[in-house]
Each structure stands twice: as C-alpha cells, then as structure tokens.
C-alpha cells in the first residue's frame, strides 16, 4: 500500500507537463455530465502535487516519518497502558504468579529488624570517573563501568586506559582517578535492566527496610582488598557504617550479605576490623561478635574459582571480567584494531582483585594429577523438580558406569586432550622453571599492546607447554613464570596455601586474611555463616589448552575449543571440563568451608560458629516472560531466586539457621568434602 501511494505521487510529478494540459481536455469533455467542481479540485491538486519534488530524499523522509509516527504511537500506547497489563498477560499464560517473597513474608508479619549490609562482588559494582586524561573530557562523575557502557564504543582506547591500574603499584595511574559509585545504586543494576541487587532490595523494602537500615558496601573491585583501605579507606567506612547502623537500630546486630568476590572481601574485613591499628581497623577482638549476626555468603568462591585461571593466563574466561562476557558480542571484533584480547588482558592483569580468585589450597583441595575430590562426578540428568528420588537413582547407576574413566579434574590445565586423559605415569613433564626467557626475536614495536608474554620469548612459551599438566599447586608456578610482575603484586596481597600452624605470627599479615585456609574465623560464637549457592549448572573446572599458531602479537596460549567429550552430556566441551556449580563457582569452592572446613569447632573456626549450607537447585525460566527466572541458580541470576530471597528476609527479620531448616543440599558436596584430607 505504501509503495503504491508513493508511486502515485511521483507519477503525478512527472506527469506535470502533459498532465496539466490533458486535464483541461478532460474537463471539457466531462463538463456536461459531471460536476466540474470535482475536476477543478482535482486539477488543482494535481498541480499542487506537481510542484513538490518527490525525489528519493522525500521518500526516505516519508519513510522515516512513518516509522517515527508509528513508534511514537506505540510508545504512547505503551505508556498509557496500565502497569498491570504485562503481569496480567503473564498470569494468563503461565497461571498465577507466586507473590514476591517480600509481600508473602510481610503478610506473615515479618518486619525489618536487623540492619542489612550488601557487599557486591567483582565486576557488578559501578565505577565512575573523578579525574581523567584529556580524552575523557565530559565524563566527570559518569559511570565508566556499569550502566550503558556507552564509552566502550565511543572511545575504546581511552576507556581501557582509564580502567587500567598502575602495573607496578596496583593503584591509580597518574592523573586518573576512577572511584566506586557509592550507595545502593552502585550495584542494584549492573546495566539497564540487568538486575543484581535490585530484586533483593525491593523485597527487603516490602518488609520495611529503607536507606537507613540497608547499606551497600561498594568498593573498587579492581584493587587488592587491603588497597581499598589504603586508597579509599573503604574498610574504615564499612566499619563506621556498620557501627552506626547497629547503634541507630537499637543495638540490633547486622546481617551481612556478600556476593561472589564480596565474600572474600568480607572475610578480609572480618580479620581487618579486629586486627590492631596500623594494619587493621583496631576494633578489638570482639567487634564481630558485637556487630554481626550472620554472614550470608551468596555464591562465594571461598577457595577460588577455576575461571580465574584462564582469565589471567589467556584472557579467555567467560565472565570473570564481564568485559569478556560481552566479548563475543563486540570486544572480539576489531574495535581495538584486532588486538582486543591483548588489550583486555593488559587491563585485567592490572586488577589485583582477580588474583584473589585463583584456586586456593593447592592439590589438597583441588586434586593432583590422578585424584580429585569430584572424580566420580557425573552430570545429573536435567532434574525434575518434584521427583528427587528418581534423579538420585539415575545418578547412582551412572556413577558406576563412569567410574572407570573418571575425569582428572585435578589437572586444571593440560596441554592437549590426550594429556588430560592419560594416566599420570605416561606423561613426560619437562620442568619449565629453569627455561631461559630469551628475548623475543620479533621486534616488539610492531605490537601496539604490550603484554608480558613478549618478555618470555619463544623458548619460554615452549617450555610452558612442555610441562603438559598443571595442578592447582603448580599453576601458581606457571603464573609466576608467565606474569612475573602481576604475581609480584599479587603475592604481596594474597596467599593461596594452607596453614600448618594458624598461630604462626606470620599469619597476622593482611595477605592471608582473604584465604579461609590461612585464617581463623573471629571469636564470635553467636554469629552464623551461611553458604548459599546455586547448583545444577555445568561450571568450568579444568581446561585443555593448546599453543596458538605462532604470531608475534598474539597471546601464545588458547583454550583448545576442538577438544570435546564423546558423549552428548559429557563433561568436556569446547576444551573445558565442567562440573556441578552455579556456572562460575564450582560447588567445592562455594560449599567446602561450610560443609567441612568450618563445621563444628575446627582449627579454622575455634569458637564454633554455626555454619549452614543452603543450595538452590537451578531451574531455568519456564517462559520468556519470566525474564531471568525466579528459580535460577546461576551465579548472578540467583539474586532473583525467590527461595534465596525468602531465606535472607527471614534471617534479616530475626530467624536463625535452625529456623530456616538447617542445611539444604542437592549436590554431592558432603561426599566430596569427605574425600579431602585436610587436618582440622
């Protein structure tokens, strides 16, 4: 129809000359029979139209106009639509929605009691610019991280420059100050429409929480934990805010809800706050007992996340840095002139915090060449929510089946699929540590982006590959070899071992504070620690690597995406061995401390703080209308999980772990924990 109209108009124009003449003739002929008024009108109209030039430009404009108008009308209708319609439609399709937990619990009579502190994880917190170079003109107090990420497109190099930290100190580069956004807005939504804490906040508000009883402990997640105190005094602020909230809420202790890396950050905080003043916060040895009711860790990588490894080694993890998560979309493209990965890698390597998530506890926890706690794991069949017994049976039968060829999860990195599967006796390993890091023959100047790999030389790279297999223990040596500068910084702030004697005075140094295997929990017998995490999603656990085709400017290692397991639901896919978890953190890392390491009175938990494991079985959203689902178990989406929110609200309103029903376990975490031989 539109086309027809268009054509008619253009015809009218071209017929201008002949048309006017012939029109007169028509008039003459029809005069007797017709009302010529009509004709005159027509003729006038024809002339009028003739004056307009219906060129291509006009058509375009007309088209745009049409689209705009339609768009506006739709927008108007959308805005005029009562807010309840989407909900109505959803309910019509999927049946009545359950009440959001906040509403439900409010009806039960729950009200705000304990002040609540959120500790966001890595990546999800917003960062804004306070001082920048010339290229960042006009971005003052605008978000560089979080929000719309508009600047990534507009000035990618400038953006990378401002997001990077100083490679030596791990602090601000000169002339650049990027600071965390403060307040609840820091991490309620990561990007527009992508909630992180917003759902939880909204539900807490339903039972009466507000700004004075909720606090978002936003920190610069790029920095090493102790550096957030050194640069921004973040730990002091958190301490002061918790004290204030406890004081103004009639002495009710705070409920802390850390998520992801925030769990480690808060573990660090608990040590810091009780440590004496120059290094710590000087709160005294009963600060935690006085101020904290419960720590409800959500998806906490207490023992690290294997994803951090490829992230550091080859910038290939999928979402350790969300930069990479967005990567398939645009970062892999030529935005940065082909070298996206190198740019990202150089940037993320200046972020000390990523090193806090390197797997901790070495071979004891993560397994060695031949053994791993999860070795008999078989992915559960897509679980059916209601018949748990059936699922269990299936698992049992299949376990037997596959025990013969258990996967060597302990080999976190293996070069080549065959190496990953071979028995350890058949692998020839050549030590790489002595390998000479010959200067790269290729001239570095041709590469825009400098990464430390250029210092390694080809021999070094080869030597790394020759070692074939890396476990959690030898992985650290690898990283030291591959990225000496980064690890030099990292070693000053983090430690990955297991303490033999926790009373050794060296453990008073802050670098041990974020490692649960090298610190004692505070002396607070009334406190409760929860580990809440999703299960039922394949989670990266070990990688098959290969050398990339030789090229000067490229990262020399790559995940071997061609490595695939045979069976359909095999654990090996695209070069990654996966295991049960929440898509980012394996069950072992999230649950072990609460399941075994801190259970009862152990040397890591001398005062016998109660621990609870609450697992949430993943169920993907049933329909598109549900968005990211209300039963999700994924690392970030779990923040919208109704069951988890309900648990949190109950605890915030005063319930204890026993009231919630103690442990809630779907995975094999207790079985795996038993296999780990750690003196307690």
């Amino acid at each position: 129809m539109a086309l027809l109209r268009r054509r008619k108009a253009s015809e009218a124009e071209k017929a201008q000359h002949s048309g006017s003449k012939s029109d007169k003739e028509i008039e003459r002929t029809d005069e007797e029979n017709d009302k010529n008024i009509n004709n005159r009108k027509k003729a006038k109209k024809a002339k009028f139209e003739g004056k307009k030039k219906w060129s291509c430009l006009d058509s375009c404009c007309w088209f745009i106009g049409c689209i705009c108008t339609v768009w506006w009308i739709l927008l108007f209708l959308y805005n005029a639509m009562p807010a309840s319609i989407p909900q109505y439609v959803t309910e019509a399709i999927t049946g009545p929605l359950p009440d959001p937990p906040g509403v439900k619990l409010r009806k039960e009579g729950l009200t705000a009691k304990h002040p609540v502190v959120f500790v966001p994880g890595i990546v999800t917190g917003g960062l804004e610019l306070w001082e920048g170079h010339q290229c960042a003109e006009g971005l003052f107090r605008k978000r560089l991280w979080g929000g719309s990420f508009g600047e990534v497109y507009k000035r990618p190099l400038c953006w990378v420059e401002h997001m990077s930290l100083n490679n030596e100190t791990g602090l601000d580069p000169s002339g650049i100050r990027v600071r965390p956004v403060s307040g609840l807005v820091a991490a309620d939504y990561f990007a527009a429409g992508y909630f992180v804490w917003a759902v939880l906040i909204a539900n807490l508000a339903r039972i009466g929480y507000e700004e004075k009883t909720m606090y978002m402990a936003a920190y610069d997640w790029r920095l090493a934990f102790q550096n957030t105190e050194a640069r921004d005094q973040t730990l002091s602020r958190i301490k002061s805010n918790i004290e204030l909230m406890v004081a103004t809420n009639g002495g009710k202790k705070a409920v802390i809800i850390p998520h992801s890396m925030g769990v480690l950050y808060f573990l660090h905080f608990m040590k810091w706050v009780e440590a004496p003043a120059p290094m710590g916060g000087g709160g005294g040895s009963d600060w935690c007992a006085k101020h904290i009711k419960a720590v409800m860790n959500i998806g906490g990588p207490l023992l690290g996340a294997p994803k951090a490894v490829p992230g550091l080694l080859s910038a290939e993890a999928k979402d350790i840095a969300a930069a990479r998560a967005m990567a398939p979309g645009f970062l892999d493209n030529d935005l940065f002139r082909v070298q996206t990965l190198q740019h990202v890698m150089r940037m993320t390597r200046t972020w000390d915090s990523t090193m806090s998530m390197i797997p901790k506890g070495g071979d004891t926890i993560w397994g060695d060449l031949d053994w791993s706690p999860e070795e008999s794991y078989v992915p559960r069949k897509r679980k059916q929510r209601d018949n748990d017994s059936q699922t269990a049976e299936q698992t049992d039968t299949e376990t037997l089946d596959s025990q013969k060829k258990g996967i060597n999860y302990g080999r976190i990195i293996s070069f080549g699929k065959d190496v990953a599967e071979a028995p350890s006796s058949e692998i020839e390993r050549i030590d790489f540590k002595g390998a000479i890091k010959g200067n790269n023959v290729a001239n570095i100047t041709s590469c825009d982006v400098w990464t430390e790999y250029h210092d390694m030389g080809i021999e070094g790279i080869k030597a790394v590959a020759e070692y074939k297999v890396y476990t959690a223990g030898s992985l650290l040596d690898l990283l030291h070899f591959v990225a000496p500068k980064m690890m030099a910084r990292g070693d000053a702030h983090f430690s990955y071992g297991i303490a033999d004697n926790l009373d050794d005075p060296k453990y008073e140094h802050y670098k041990y504070w974020s490692n649960p295997l090298e610190t004692k929990l505070p002396n607070a017998p009334d406190m409760e620690i929860y580990s809440m995490y999703g299960v039922g999603i394949p989670t990266e656990r070990a990688y098959v690597y290969k050398l990339s085709p030789y090229s000067e400017c490229y990262i020399p290692f790559q995940i071997d995406t061609s490595a695939d397991g045979g069976k359909e639901d095999s654990c090996l896919k695209d070069g990654v061995y996966s295991i049960d978890g929440d898509e980012t953190v394996p069950v072992l890392s999230a649950g072990f401390m609460c399941a075994k390491g801190w259970r009862g009175k152990t040397r890591f938990n001398p005062s016998g703080i109660q621990t609870y494991i609450r697992e949430y079985d993943h169920a993907p959203p049933a329909t598109l209308l549900e968005g990211r689902g209300t039963q999700s178990g994924a690392h970030v989406d779990i923040m919208g999980n109704f069951a988890l929110i309900e648990d949190i609200i109950r605890v915030a309103a005063g319930a204890t772990g026993e009231d919630l029903g103690g442990d809630q376990v779907y995975s094999d975490i207790f079985k795996w924990s038993d296999k780990i031989n750690l003196p307690l």
Partner: protein, 688 residues
C-alpha cells in the same frame, strides 16, 4: 463519479512512466479523451482487474493528509538527527568561543590540593526524594524520584503524587503506608532537574583539586521534616555526625569544612547544638565536639533569620519559590490539572511540611521592624539598581546618593509591615491604622463551619468563619511578631505542630535551662554558638537582586469554593523604580533571602564576643554582587548572585576551595561587603 475521474487521470499518468508495470493498453487514454462517459467505462474494463484493485485501495482520501504528515515528521526528525550529529561532531571548544577556565583548574595550578574534608548540606526543595513504599496508585515508582529529576509523575498522576509528598497533618511524619525518603549521596542535590545544577559545579571544581568520595559528603536529609524529626525518623543527624567523625579520622585528623546552603544553614545550625547536647535529645558528642571536628562553616545564602517569602507561602501558598512548586506554577500548577483547586492542593501539601515553618522570620519586631520602623528604611530600589550596575560610580556619587536618600526617607517604605491589607494601609502612618488589638481576633471562636462540602480539598481556611476572615483583614497590618498570632489563628494545627519544633523569638537570658530544648536550636537568636574559638563562620550570599520583603494583601472575592480567602494584591504598584511591584515590596538580597536575614548574624549578632557567641568565633561576611550572564553561552552565569545560581559563581567557588585547601578568613581578605548590611545592623537594637 469522482472516483472514476480520478481513476481516469491515473490512466493518464501511469502509462507515461509505469509502463513497466504492464499496462497493455497504452492507447486507451487517447480513446478516453475523445470519448465520453461510455468510453470511460470501456477504459475501466480494458485496463483490467489489477487497476481496479489499486483504485479501490487508494480510495480513502485521508491518506494523502497522512502522507504529508509523515513526510513532515520525517523531515523534522532527519533534520534533528543531522543537527544532533553535527553537534556531537563539533569540537568541544569552538575557536571563537573561549570557555573560561574553571576556578578549580586555576587553583590547582596555584598548587591547592584537597586538605580538609568537605560536607555539603543542601537546602529546602533542592534535595531529591524517592519512594520506598506507597499506595497502589504509585505502582512501579519504587526507588524512583518523586522530587527532583524530571517530575514526570506530576503530569501522569498529579493527585497520587501530591498524596505521597504530603506528610501526616498531626505528627509531621509519614502518613501510614507511605514512605518517601531522601536520596542519599552526591546525586541527591547535584542537579535538581536535568541541566539545572545546584551543587554540581562546586563538586566538579572540588574534584579538580583532588576531592572525591572519601573526603566529600552530601548530608542529604528529608527537607520536608522538622529538623529534629529527621533524626527521629531517619537518624539523619546521627549519620551526619558519624560521617564527619569518620572523615575526620580517615583524612589524617583534618577538620571538616561544612558548606550548607539556604535552609541547610539552619539545619546545620541545629546540628551544632544537637551534637553537643546529651543523648536522649542530642547526639552526645560532648562539648568540644565542634571544636575538634569543624574548621569552618561556609553558609551560602543563609536564611538565618528566616525569609519573608515563607510568610506568603504559608499564608496563601503564593510565594514564588520557597516551594519550587510555585515557581513552576504559572506553567503547570495554575492550570486545571488538579481540577481547579491547584492552589488549595499545594497549600495543603506545603502546610504539612514542618520545615517551611523554620523559615518564618525570626526575632520579631526587633529585627524585622514594627509598624513604623524597619532596619532597611531608606533603601531605594531604583538607586540600588544603579549602584550595583555601575559600582565604579559609587564613590564619586556618594554625596549625591546621600541627598537622594534623604529625599527618599519621606516616603520610605514601611518594610516592618510584613503583611498589610490594601496598598493604602501599607503606607499610612501607624496612628491612622485601626487600633484593633492584635489578640482580638483570636478570641472569636469559629463554631459556624463554612460549607466545606463544596470543596474537595480540605484546608484549614474552611473551618474559619467568614467573620474571622473579615476580622483578619480589618486588623490591616501585621509585623513579624503579630504575624505569628495571625498564623496561629489561621492555621492552628500547623502551628501547633510547628511550635513544638521551632521557636521564632529572641532570648533574654540564654542560660535559661529552657533553651536546652531542641526547638530553640535552629534559631540563632535563642542559642549560643558552640565553644570552638578556632572555628570560622562565613556568610556568603549574593546581593543586588530585588528580594521579597513584605506584601500587600487583599481578600479574595467571596467565592465559597475558592477556599483560600487571601491573596496578594498584585494590582498594587509603586511609582516607577519604586520598591512596590505586583503587591510585593522588595529589598536588597539574593532573590530569596534579604540581606538582613543572611548577613545580620555574621555582621553583628556574632561579631566579636557576644552573648550569642561566647567563645568569640570569627565571622566573615562575603557578598557577591549579582551580574547577569553576559551571553547565552554562559547559561546561568558565572557571576550570578541569585539564591541557587550563586552556586555557580566563580568567586564563591574560589572562596570555598581556598578554605577547603586550608586558607583562613583573614587570608582571603576578611569581610567583603557591597550592601548596606552594616548600616542596617547598626539600626537594630539587639542586646549583645
């Protein structure tokens, strides 16, 4: 028939260029031309089905109009996008147009760096408010701004919006089921609405010399509440205390520089007393807290002694911007969005806000003048205008202006009569005023309820008898003291709430134990400054703008449903260049706060060691002469003296930055005065 004709024309046209579409009968038009109707029909049949379909589709003529519409819209959109694109492509600095360097950048080159932590205290109206819990009509507004930002909800659901901003009429706290809270953080008041900066410019300049989140704090509070209620409901004062202590400690024990604005000045003044008072009522910081933690208080546009604007706002909801609602008024609120009763609605909402009452002129007739006398008498608006316009002429014209001044005194304005009914009354000598005792009308009880059925909106005026209203008008003129009696009569409930929270008098004996009550803490004439001899207090304000000082009122026409019986008599005009305009007498000030209110305490009340300032805290008056923006490029101007725009005044920013970086008042040059504040202060007979 018409359709046939049109159709035929098409046949004409189409073959000419659209033969590709497959018209077999190229010749038919010619036949048609020669033939008559019969031929037309023949044509119709020959051209065939295809064409018929097309013609029937083209039938509705309205489509043509739509086409044009679409075309126009398309043009406009495209042009708009093009311009937008070009605009974005423009280099930041046009060659011809030099952006003046920000004071922060300049001072940084001078070597200033962040030293003392800075606390910003926003004033009334400028802080954002967001919804935490609401009625069903506010669905989807959770944690969205109701106040500040784009104000879209006013248009979408005006009554719902008003309902949520209203406080409880008795307690002055939340109505049941509604929780509206202050937005926290710097975003609370950096911009009031998109593009309308409040603190943003100052923040940006502070950042240039190194300030950031850890040493810059915005003490946002719910500005609708009375000051003590912000502590009771939100613990806002406790938070502020804790934040100042924290910043003091984490910044190497550097004392804090506090920068309050407008009503924030009184709020922070209240805080000073609160923090040192013992716990149940106060913050328990102990004496010496202020001395230990505060270096300087830089009051911007301080409304220490109240603003006359508050009077008219409370009395008849007519002030121009004490409630910004009114300033948006002419455009929006006066129209009939709320069903004719906009003003009443606004009035009802504003009257539940206790904070407005903190702005009622304080100090009574001693400060603001009585029926015959006022400290500002002799002020000549016309002259003042000239003086500010040509500052250089000031000295040379001194004698001349003195002469004029004397001439002026004869018909000088009686500013003391804050409200007078009728222009004549405002100018009569006091002896001719009807000698009705001011207390008289208070006794007239008002049992006859006005027919309140007709008005949906309840305001307290409905409960007043017509008699009472007339009596009020008969009393003719009110001063700052009698005005309070008037308010007690007119709005008894509001004043009952308010008198528990605020006091507007002058203390005879500051050591009287009654002054330990919090209701006196925000009145500088009824409290002592803390014992902090090293602290500095600055009064920074703009001068050179006509500022409302007193009003000429009239009775509204007796329309029963017009439930506000009084309104400003906007027909009352003075002579050319006079101070009376639109029923309002003007005086020097920053458009909201008269010089007297802003400057008196620093200029006299606290100068040296007085009974209000026993420890002799140094005070400085810094005035900023208003200069309108020279060109459109400057936006709201870099030398403005207006109440809010002064926050973008370069000189003021520089002063704040210097003090924050460690300078003292003496180093900055002490007082800087353009107005008559010293002379006015001298005329005020206040025991010090």
């Amino acid at each position: 028939m018409a359709s046939i004709l049109r159709f035929r024309k098409l046949c004409y046209v189409e073959p000419v260029k659209c033969s590709s579409l497959g018209f077999e009968s190229f010749e038919t038009p010619k036949i048609e031309k020669k033939d008559d109707r019969g031929a037309v029909k023949a044509v119709e049949s020959t051209v065939g089905e295809k064409q018929k379909k097309k013609s029937s589709k083209r039938q509705p003529r309205e489509w043509r109009c739509m086409d044009y519409c679409c075309l126009t819209v398309g043009y406009v959109c495209t042009a708009w996008w093009l311009l937008l694109f070009l605009y974005h492509c423009l280099p930041a600095a046009l060659p011809g147009f030099q952006v003046p360097e920000a004071p922060g950048a300049r001072l940084r080159r001078e070597g200033l760096t962040a030293l003392h932590p800075v606390v910003l205290v926003p004033g009334i109206v400028t802080g954002g408010l967001e919804l935490w819990e609401g009625r069903p009509c506010s669905e989807g507004l959770f944690r969205k701004r109701l106040w500040g930002g784009s104000f879209t909800e006013i248009f979408k659901r005006p009554l719902c919006w008003l309902e949520h901003l209203t406080l409880h009429n008795q307690t002055g706290l939340d109505p049941p089921g509604i929780r509206v809270r202050a937005v926290p953080g710097l975003v609370a008041a950096d911009y009031f609405a998109p593009g309308y900066f409040v603190w943003a410019v100052l923040i940006e300049n502070l950042a240039r010399i190194g300030y950031e989140g850890k040493n810059l704090y915005m003490a946002a509070y719910d500005w609708r509440l009375s000051f003590q209620n912000t502590e009771i409901r939100d613990q806002a004062l406790s938070r502020l205390k804790s934040k100042i202590e924290l910043m003091f400690v984490t910044n190497g024990n550097k004392k804090v520089v506090v920068v309050p604005h407008s009503m924030g000045v009184i709020y922070f003044f209240h805080f000073l007393k609160w923090v040192e008072s013992p716990p149940p009522m106060g913050g328990g910081g102990g004496t010496g807290w202020c001395a230990k933690h505060i270096k300087a208080i830089m009051n911007i546009g301080p409304a220490f002694l109240g603003v006359p604007k508050a009077v008219s706002n409370i009395f008849s909801a007519e002030a121009k911007d004490v409630a910004f609602v009114r300033s948006m008024d002419p455009g929006v609120l006066d129209s009939e969005i709320l069903g004719l009763q906009t003003l009443e609605h606004v009035m009802r909402v504003c009257r539940t806000w206790d904070s407005i009452i903190s702005l009622i002129p304080k100090g009574g007739e001693t400060i603001w003048g009585n029926l015959d006398w006022s400290p500002e008498e002799g002020y000549n608006c016309d002259l003042a205008k000239k003086r500010y316009a040509q500052p250089s002429l000031l000295d040379s014209n001194d004698t001349n202006s003195d002469g004029k001044m004397e001439f002026q005194i004869k018909e000088s304005v009686r500013y003391g009569r804050i409200i007078s009914f009728g222009k004549a009354t405002s100018q009569l000598p006091s002896s001719q005023l009807p000698n009705l005792g001011s207390k008289d009308f208070l006794r007239t009880s008002n049992p006859t309820k006005f027919n309140s059925l007709c008005s949906e909106v309840w305001t307290e005026y409905d409960e007043m008898s017509r008699d009472g209203i007339r009596k009020i008008a008969e009393n003719k003129a009110y001063t700052a003291r009698t005005f309070l009696d008037l308010l007690r009569f007119v709005a008894p409930k509001m004043m009952q709430r308010a008198e528990a929270q605020f006091s507007h008098g002058i203390a005879d004996n500051l050591d009287d134990p009654k002054y330990a009550h919090y209701k006196y803490w925000s009145n500088p004439l009824e409290t002592k400054l803390p014992d902090a001899p090293d602290m500095e207090i600055y009064c920074l304000y703009g001068v050179g703008l006509p500022t409302e000082r007193s009003y000429v009122y009239k009775l509204s026409p007796t329309d029963r449903c017009k439930s506000i019986p009084f309104r400003i008599d906007s027909s009352a005009e003075g002579s050319d260049g006079g101070c009376l305009k639109g029923g309002v007498y003007f005086v020097d000030g920053d458009e909201s706060v008269p010089v007297l209110s802003a400057g008196f305490m620093c200029a006299k009340g606290w100068k040296g060691r007085t009974r209000f300032n026993p420890s002799g805290i140094a005070t400085y008056v810094r005035e900023y002469r208003h200069k309108p923006p020279a060109s459109l490029f400057e936006g709201r101007g870099v030398e403005s003296g207006a109440h809010v725009d002064i926050m973008g005044n370069v000189a003021l920013i520089e002063d704040v930055l210097r003090v924050a970086a460690g300078a003292t008042g003496v180093e900055m040059g002490g007082d800087r005065i353009y107005s008559d504040i010293m002379r006015m202060s001298d005329r005020i007979n206040l025991r010090l």
